[in-house]
Symmetry: C2
Subunit: 321 residues, 2 copies
């Protein structure tokens, strides 16, 4: 059942011993949203815990300062920024998939698995929704909470560069900055810092860029061999996803990453009216209109062919002008 | 004589036939600030003209829609975002250097050459000052003016990533977005688009990256040879300036560009407390604390040595920890 912000706030007010679930391979939005809500509800006297299937990357550890994550039998289970129970990861999915009371999310691809869902697919990030929800709860937004939320707001919009960025995104960013979010350092860490190994990997990846459909599609393929040569690894590949689309005239940018056990993960980024989630859905994946992903089996060439076939179907109408 | 925003507004209200001067090699801030002021004053019934020593790059041409630039003998000459009369370029410097009535600028390195100066060196861009000035003038901020200003606000802060970005920057960005600035397309054009030739140049430039002072300084050198190989040219090198500083642990990032007639232009970008303008001032250049520039004579190695000597003096205190 879909519910609105006010009902969501009412539910949270009524409950205690609340468990927040983040998605696997956690990012700034799922962690920033869950941690800010956890901080605010703790300050309201509630007992809360955050669980995530994967370890928290060190760049996000600042968010959890003061969060004690005590053991308790959850009275209320809330998934945050999780579009599908599959995205909880094996362990959490097994444990909680059937008993999620509330989902707070902004993915249009959300499969509506939770008992109640507060979904705003026009929101650039779940963190934007949480910012407004904290207002509804009359919760104090401390500088730490502002930083958690700003991390979600900025990372899910590629630092205000993606097409999901709205007037509201800028307004909330400015409010969070005024509330003491450490905007400069957050942006430095997530957008202006490359490890030396990543910088080396990026050069190799850029060298692999190939163009298709009269240069309207660009594709890079990151191989296991490149990880070895650069000293980098899969954990550093997120930022590569935006590179192909940056080339002038490119409408569909694809970044493929060879998996250890065979097959490829593909990130698809599009411009304008081309729907990346349509391309990825037909290959078993999903996501947003401008940014989606899927996993492909077979050889590199088979994976490329499968992707290009779906890209062609979407890009076709734009080939005339 | 330093004057404040109110006096600046009063002066502009009193005058007519106003000439705005931009700096040479014009950027989003000098052009966005001058054009938005020109639009607003034209709407107030005044006759205005904008002059710039160099042609307006095509990405900025949208700013000048409706600006007629009629010929007239200027009653009032206003330089915008011009820290030094030298930066007007030869032709404009010769014509106007001695008769500039007002300078509106945010560079701390401003040499105070104008009769009156409205200077706010805490402002991330001149465009931020113009936004507030238009409020003081009770001028209507149309969507086009909002776009001109947003271009200045975003380009001078590296899209909100540089250390000059403040709470006020975010607030003004959100106001401009709400007033109809075409934020998405502006950011795409100036930050998320690379020509194929630039992408090729960037790869060559990254390959030239070398590290000094225990990896706290990174330097890339763009040669004439690289322009030939990539099909690119000097006009596409602005974005390269931020790349060396992005590598983790780098406090001083330097991008050198070989000039056609010999010598090198260097862009210096710093993190934290290291003052790029100190490094560049001692080499005859200047700029901001986090972003400055200078020109060097001699061979590539001589230019590198000269730069590293000054970097060492600034970075020295940070070598202990």
């Amino acid at each position: 059942m879909r519910i609105d912000m006010q009902e969501t706030a009412n539910l949270l007010r009524q409950k205690n011993n609340i468990l927040f679930l983040c998605h696997k391979h956690p990012d700034g939005d799922t962690l920033g949203s869950a941690s800010s809500l956890a901080h605010a509800l703790t300050a309201m006297g509630k007992t809360v815990r955050i669980e995530c299937n994967d370890p928290i990357p060190k760049d996000f550890s600042f968010m959890f300062e003061g969060i004690e994550n005590p053991p308790f039998e959850p009275e209320f289970v809330v998934s945050i920024d999780v579009a599908d129970t599959k995205l909880l990861g094996n362990e959490l999915e097994e444990k909680y998939a059937d008993c999620i009371n509330l989902c707070i999310d902004h993915h249009s691809s959300n499969i509506l698995y939770a008992e109640k869902i507060f979904l705003d697919s026009n929101s650039a990030s779940t963190a934007e929704m949480i910012y407004l929800l904290l207002g509804e709860l009359n919760a104090e937004i401390t500088p730490l909470i502002a930083s958690c939320l700003f991390t979600g707001v900025s990372t899910d919009t590629g630092c205000f560069r993606f097409s999901n960025t709205t007037v509201r995104t800028f307004e909330i960013a400015s409010k969070l900055a005024a509330l003491g979010a450490d905007t400069y350092n957050i942006i430095q860490v997530f957008f202006e810092t490359k490890t030396k190994t990543y910088a080396a990997l990026e050069r190799l990846a850029l060298d692999s860029m190939r163009f298709y459909f009269s240069d309207r599609c660009a594709l890079i393929c990151v191989t296991q061999d490149m990880y070895e040569k650069s000293g980098s690894n899969e954990s550093e590949t997120d930022k590569l996803a935006n590179l192909p689309r940056q080339v002038e005239g490119v409408l569909v940018g694809i970044t493929m990453r060879e998996l250890k056990d065979g097959g490829f993960k593909a990130s698809v980024r599009t411009h304008g009216d081309i729907d990346a989630s349509e391309i990825c859905k037909r290959l078993g994946g999903g996501g947003h209109k401008g940014a989606s992903g899927c996993t492909l089996c077979g050889t590199k060439q088979q994976a490329i062919n499968a992707l290009l076939k779906e890209v062609e179907a979407e890009i076709d109408v734009y080939r005339i002008d």
